[in-house]
Each structure stands twice: as C-alpha cells, then as structure tokens.
Point group: C2
Chain length 288, copies 2
Amino acid sequence: MAKILRGAEALEAKCAELKDKVRRLRNEGTDPVLGIIRVGDNPDNMAYERGLVKRAEELGIQVESYVLEEKATETTVIALIRRLNYDDMVHGVLLMRPLPDHMDDNKVRMTLDPAKDLDGITDVSIAGVFAGTDRGFPPCTPSGCIELLEHYGIRISGKKAVIIGRSMVTGRPLSMMLMRKNATVTLCHSHTSPEDLIKYCNNADLIFVMVGQPKTIRIEHVRPGQVVVDIGINVDKNGKLCGDVDFDNILPVVKAVTPVPGGVGAMTSVMLLEHLITAAVRSRKGLS
Amino acid sequence: MAKILRGAEALEAKCAELKDKVRRLRNEGTDPVLGIIRVGDNPDNMAYERGLVKRAEELGIQVESYVLEEKATETTVIALIRRLNYDDMVHGVLLMRPLPDHMDDNKVRMTLDPAKDLDGITDVSIAGVFAGTDRGFPPCTPSGCIELLEHYGIRISGKKAVIIGRSMVTGRPLSMMLMRKNATVTLCHSHTSPEDLIKYCNNADLIFVMVGQPKTIRIEHVRPGQVVVDIGINVDKNGKLCGDVDFDNILPVVKAVTPVPGGVGAMTSVMLLEHLITAAVRSRKGLS
C-alpha cells in the first residue's frame, strides 16, 4: 500500500521553520509585511485570501489587503502597484488573478517590481525560472510540490519525471524546476496521445498531473515504485472534491501518492509566505 | 537510406523569401539596418560576423559593426547599447557573447531594448519563449532547427521529441518552441543515465542533440522512421568538423538526418536576419 504524502505534515514543519525566520527578522528590526491586491469578489480568490491571512497571522506576518471594485480602472491598479513597489514597509505583493476582462493582464503584471513578485508573474521571475537563476520568485504551486517531496525525502536528481499539463502557472515552471534539480522531464499535454501518455507514465519515477480532469491517471498508468503528485482540483459527480488521480485504485500499486484535498494544495499559501520572508531578507541585505 | 536534410536547400528558400521582404520594406521607405557589437577579437565571433555581414549584403540589409577593444569598460558597452536602443535607424542589435570576464553579462544584456533583441538574450525574450508569446525574439539556433524541419515538411505537432542538452542558448528554448508546436518533449542532460537515454531516443520521433560530444547518438539510439537533428559542432581526431551524431552508421537506419557541417548551422545567421526584418516591420507598424 502506498504511503500517503500529506500536506499537513510538510506544512507543520515548514511553518515552524518560517516562524523562526520571522522571529529572527523581527529581532533584527524588520517586520515582514505582505501586500495583497484583489480586484472584485471572485470567490476562489477570496477563499485563498482568507486562508493566507490566517496563516500569515500565525507566523507573525502582517498583511495589508487592498480590495478594489470589479469596475476599477487599469490605471488605478497600476498606480496601487507602483505605490507598493516604492513602499519599503511592504516586502512583497500578491496580485490576485485573473484580473477583470477590461484590464491588460500583461501590462498590469509587468508593473510589479520583480523583487516583490512573490508569485512569479513578472518576466524577470519567469526568465529566472527558465534560466535556473534565483532572480525574482518561482510560482507557488510548483514550489509547493517540490517542498512536499523534499519533506518526505523523495529524491528528484537523476529521476525520470512526467508532467501532465503545460500551464504557465504549474506545468511549465515545474518542468524547469525539476530539471534544475537534475530530473529528466517529459512534459505531456492535450496533444500527447493516450497510448503515449501511458508509455511515458509507466517509464517515469515521478508523475505530476494537473489537467483538471478526474481519473486522468489510472491503474494502467502506474507501476510499483512510483511517486504520484496530484495537483488537480475537481468536484466529482457526488459533489466531493477530488484530484486528477484515480486515488483508490492506484493506492495499492504505487510507492507514494498525494491526496486531494490534503496534499499539495495546502502548500501553496505557505510557499507564498516563504517567498515573502525571502524578499524581506533580501531587502535587508540590499539584494533586492 | 536516410534523407539528408541539407541546410543549403532550406537556406536558399529562406533567403529568397527574405530578399522579397527587404524589397517590400524598402519600397515602403524602411531600410533595415543591423547593429553588431563585438568586444575583443574572439575568432569564433569574428567568423560568425563575417558570414553574417556577407549574408546581410546579399539580402540588401545594411550592417553597422561596432568593435570595442577587449579591455573596454562595461560602462562603454552599456552606453553603446543605449545609443542603439534610441537610434530609430537601427532596427535590431546582435551583441556578440561571451563578453570579457570583467563585464557583468546579466547587467549588459538587460540594457538591450527587447524590441531589438534579435538573439533572444533579454528577460522579455526569454519569458516570451517560455510563455509561448511573440514578445522579443527566440534564440537563433533553435529557430533554425524548426525552420529546417518545416522546409522539409516534417511534422512536429503530436510527435514525440527528445532533446539532449539543456543549454539556455539551444536545448531549453527549443524544448518550449517544440512544445508550443504541440510536440511532447523530453529534455535529457548529463544526469540522464545512458540506458534511459537509449530508451527515450528509441521512443522518440524526433531527436535533437547538442552536447558537444561526437557519437553521442549511435546506432543503438535510433530506429527506422526517425528524424535526427544534429546541433553539435566538434572537431574529430582527424581534425575534421563533425557533429554529435554517428552519421555514417545511423544513415542506413533513420528516415532523415541533418549533416555537420551543412545542416542546421547554416541556418543560424539567416534566422538572425529574419528576426531583424521582423523587428523592422514591427517598428514600422509601431508594434515594437
């Protein structure tokens, strides 16, 4: 029976580490402050924000939330970002997306100072992930996946990894981040045939899936010894939250698997807070 | 016996196309001008420059070459780049690299206006390749590989590709460019075991290799039906130029293979000139 890789366990360890870092920063005279910008009342964004604020409080991080109306202008959002860029008291900014349709996402995100770009949305961060340098920040979801594996002592270097899903938020940056850790990565997507997908998955040591389709990874995709990371979030026909993996059926076969809920999802917000603490440390050292 | 994919043939077609584009630009009142910045007398850079100038002349493109002494300061190079950024008569700039050791490559390359970044060295271009948008330009070597395949009518979409070598100049951008064309890509490198490499290669439809090691791809890596693109440049023990592929031995097996010399290498400079023409067209349209 597979080991279930629970986010809560990795989370607890990470939070203890971050609390300690915040304590040290405060002792040195720096109070880490997170700025959140939300435009409109997207329920997913509001839920993410609530969780983030709660977690930040636990860790001793202050949050400044800026909520703009859905009909706010692009100019207003850009002006707010510029103000936070120049505000030395705010160490990092989370710009909730998607933005309303009347805004040019590209123009808005590029306004953000890469040094405060906690979720890796600027070109500097994107190029940093691609080039494998530490400029800006990587997006939080792939950071969380790697953190979870490392917490459980799962080796990445020299392993064969398959990623299913090529989004800019997860699949693509994850491919570069795993490669930087010396995995050999295959990036599969909607144009990969079902037969090829089975072949690639069977050959892999690590499988990451994020396509938003329940039971994308089934018994025929897996073999003993594999680690399966489920990054999908779906609601099944009974109204229950589930991932992209046929969890119950692969559980007896593989070596380890992350559950949904309770797997990598829990890691995202804490990774954002880790990036904030890194930004605060860098600004203290004049590195940002 | 495999078809030999010769650069010269693809080059001829591309040059005819570009000549025509230059003619139209001139008729509209725009004279495309390429700026080249070279610091020091690196023989490889000088050879590349000579080839480029010759090709540009054939196409009716003017070249302004700026040659600085090896001991020039970083400030001098940056000032020159800034000048060319603001010069509306120069549509694109090739900054020859590597720069001398006393310069901060990162600082210098980031000075270049992404609209004139013909070889994809700025963060905007890098992020553009990663995100699959057309901001900035992709690097010329992977552009040339794709151009060569397309010239010979070799389909990329839905195919399985293996890339061996993860450089920022070729392997990594090529992986994203092939994925954008809907190939399923595996990126192999020095931490991929020899046995896994054989497996990945045997499974692939398209093999791209650029590790700088003769006979990296041998008879055991290939099977009938495959297309092999050799991006390596080496000198063999007899002092002869060769690529990374055991050309003579795989020739009877695969469907098609690019030779070295005479394969993709010839495409690089013409891709740079195509990027220049695109930059000139964009600047005319006020898109840059």
